[in-house]
Symmetry: C2
Subunit: 312 residues, 2 copies
C-alpha cells in the first residue's frame, strides 16, 4: 500500500516522518539540522527525504509544513525568516522534480490547526479556532470541517490583528498586533522595558531575558513576571473574544511554548474573555483546551493535509 511522507521545515531543524496510508503512528522518523555541511537547506531536505523513502512501497505524496508566508495553492514559499535564499522559492515544483510524486505545501500554523482537528485536541469539532503562542503567534481556523485558506492561501494570520492602536512594534512592522502584545517575544520585551524603567524583579540580574525566564520567575512568585504574563493573558482573552464573534467556534485550542506558563497566563485570559464577549451565547458549550500534538503539530498537520488532498 502507498505511504505518505510528512515534512516539517523549521529554521533550525528539518523533520520527516513516514506513515502508512491509513496510519497515524509514524513508521519511521528522521531529523537533521536545517543548515550545515556545505549543503543548501534544500539539498539537506532532499537527502532527508531520500533517507526516509520506503524501500519497497510506492509514495502517495509528500506533504510539507513550512513557516509562512507562502502560497499553498502553487507550492511557493514567499520568504522564510531563518532560511536564506528561500525567497519566492517554488518548493513543491522543485521537490516534485526530484521525487516525481505529488507535493503539497501548507503554512505550519494552519496545518497545526488541521492536525489538531484531525488527530488531536479538536477531533470531532467542525468549527475550530487554533492559536500557537511562542516566539510569534500563529493561527489556523477550521470552518465546517475545512481549513480556512483564503484566495491566495494567506488567511489565518491571527497574530496580526491590531488590538492596541499605537501599541508596541510587531515583528511584521505594524504596531499593536496581538503578536506584539502576547507572544513570548512581547512578554520578554515588556519585562525588559519595565526593568529599564526601574521596576524591581529577580530578573534584573540577567543579561538576557526570554519568555521562559519570565515564566520561571513568575512561578517563583516574582511580581513583575506575574504581571507580564497576566497582561499577555488579558490581551489574548480580548483577542479571542473578537475571534469568537468572528468565527463562533465550538473549541479553542491553544498551543506553543508560552502556554506552558499555565494559569499564570490562562486564568487572566479566561477572565478577560468571559468579560469581553458581546453575548454569553458565544461561550455556550465552548471548550478551551491545550493543544495535544506538541512538537509533532507540524508533522501531523502535514499528514492531515495529505489525507485531505488524497480524499478530494
Amino acid at each position: 500500500m502507498s505511504q505518505i511522507i510528512a515534512i516539517d521545515i523549521g529554521g533550525t531543524q528539518l523533520r520527516a516522518a513516514r506513515f502508512a496510508m491509513d496510519g497515524q503512528t509514524a513508521l519511521q522518523t528522521r531529523r537533521t539540522s536545517t543548515q550545515g555541511d556545505g549543503q543548501t537547506p534544500f539539498e539537506r531536505l532532499c537527502d532527508l527525504i531520500t533517507n526516509i523513502l520506503p524501500a519497497d512501497q510506492p509514495v502517495a505524496g509528500i506533504a510539507v509544513a513550512a513557516p509562512g508566508p507562502l502560497d499553498p495553492y502553487n507550492g511557493i514559499i514567499f520568504s522564510t525568516p531563518n532560511i536564506a535564499g528561500w525567497e519566492n522559492f517554488p518548493i513543491s515544483a522543485k521537490l516534485n522534480e526530484r521525487f516525481d510524486v505529488p507535493v503539497w505545501l501548507g503554512n505550519d500554523a494552519n496545518l497545526a490547526a488541521l492536525g489538531e482537528w484531525k488527530f488531536g485536541a479538536a477531533r470531532g469539532h467542525k468549527h475550530v479556532l487554533y492559536l500557537t503562542i511562542s516566539t510569534g503567534i500563529g493561527g489556523g481556523v477550521i470552518i465546517d470541517d475545512r481549513l480556512l485558506a483564503g484566495t491566495r492561501g494567506l488567511a489565518g494570520e491571527l497574530g496580526h490583528v491590531q488590538i492596541m492602536q499605537g501599541g508596541p512594534l510587531c515583528g511584521c512592522g505594524q504596531r499593536g498586533h496581538l503578536e506584539a502584545l502576547a507572544s513570548g517575544t512581547a512578554i520578554a520585551n515588556f519585562v525588559r522595558e519595565q526593568l529599564a524603567g526601574g521596576e524591581k524583579s529577580s530578573l534584573s540580574r540577567r543579561a538576557q531575558i526570554s519568555a521562559r525566564d519570565v515564566s520561571e520567575a513568575a512561578q517563583q512568585g516574582d511580581a513583575l513576571a506575574i504581571h507580564a504574563l497576566s497582561r499577555a493573558g488579558e490581551h489574548l482573552g480580548q483577542a479571542i473574544a473578537g475571534f469568537l464573534h468572528t468565527f463562533n467556534p465550538s473549541i479553542v485550542v491553544l498551543g506553543g511554548g508560552v502556554t506552558q506558563s499555565g494559569d499564570l497566563l490562562l486564568a487572566p485570559m479566561r477572565r478577560t474573555l468571559e468579560a469581553s464577549v458581546m453575548d454569553k451565547s458565544f461561550l455556550k458549550n465552548l471548550q478551551i483546551v491545550p493543544a495535544a500534538l506538541g512538537d509533532d503539530a507540524g508533522l501531523m498537520g502535514a499528514l492531515a493535509l495529505a489525507h485531505t488532498m488524497l480524499e478530494d
Copy 2:
C-alpha cells in the same frame, strides 16, 4: 414550477417578494409596517405572506432575513431590539405551522453577504468580505463559496471586534468595538461630544444630529464633520486590514447608508488599510467595491439562502 417567498424583517418594515424558482427578478413585492392595527408583528407577517402567496403554483419554501442574534440552524430569533416579544422566538417553526412549507432563517447582514456573492457586487468571487455600515456595523463572510456561520450560526459579527482598548461604549455593552468607532451612531456621537467640548461647526445649531447630517455638513466643507468621517474611515481601514489577515478575501463589499458619504469616508479608509497590511500580498488583485443590492440586500440574501438550501 415552484416559487420562492423571500422575507426581510426590519424594526419598522416587513418586506416580502415572490420569485420564480430560477428567477432573480421579483414576480411580486409587498411591504407593510412591522407594528400596527392591533396585530402582533407575527400576525402582520403572516398576513403579508398570505397576500403574496402564488395563486396557482406550489411554494418551495419561505426564506427569512432577520436582525440577529439568531439561530439559523433551528430557526430561532434570540432577540430583536425593535420587536417586543420576540425573545427566543421560534419563527421558523411558527411559520411552518401556518404555511406548511420549508422555512429558512438567516441573520440579515450574513444574508446580505450571501446575496452580494450570488446576485450582486461579488459575483464570481469565492472569498468575500462584506460589511454594512449604518446605525450599527454588520458583517458577512463567504469562504470558498460558502457562508461563514459557525457552530451556532453566530459568526460574522465583524462590528464587534475591539479596535480601541477602553474606547467608546458599543451598542452591545462592550467598549472600543469597530461599531462604536465607525458606525453612523458612532460618527454622530463623536460630533456631539466634540460640540459639547466647544468645537465649532455648522452642526452646532441643531437639536439632533444624525450621521446623515454629518455627511451633508462634510460635503458643505464643515471641518468637524469632515474630521468625524475621516476618523471613522481610518478605524474602518484598520479593522479591514485585520480582516484581510484573517480571511484573505479577493473582494471587500461595503454597504449601508454611511458608505454614501463616499470618499470623505472611503479615501481615509483606503489610505489606512494600505498602510496597515502586514504584507502587500494581501492587497494583490484585491477589489474594494460598493454593495450593489441596496435596500434589496435582505430580500435578495433571503433568495440566495433559499437557493443554497434547495441545492443541498
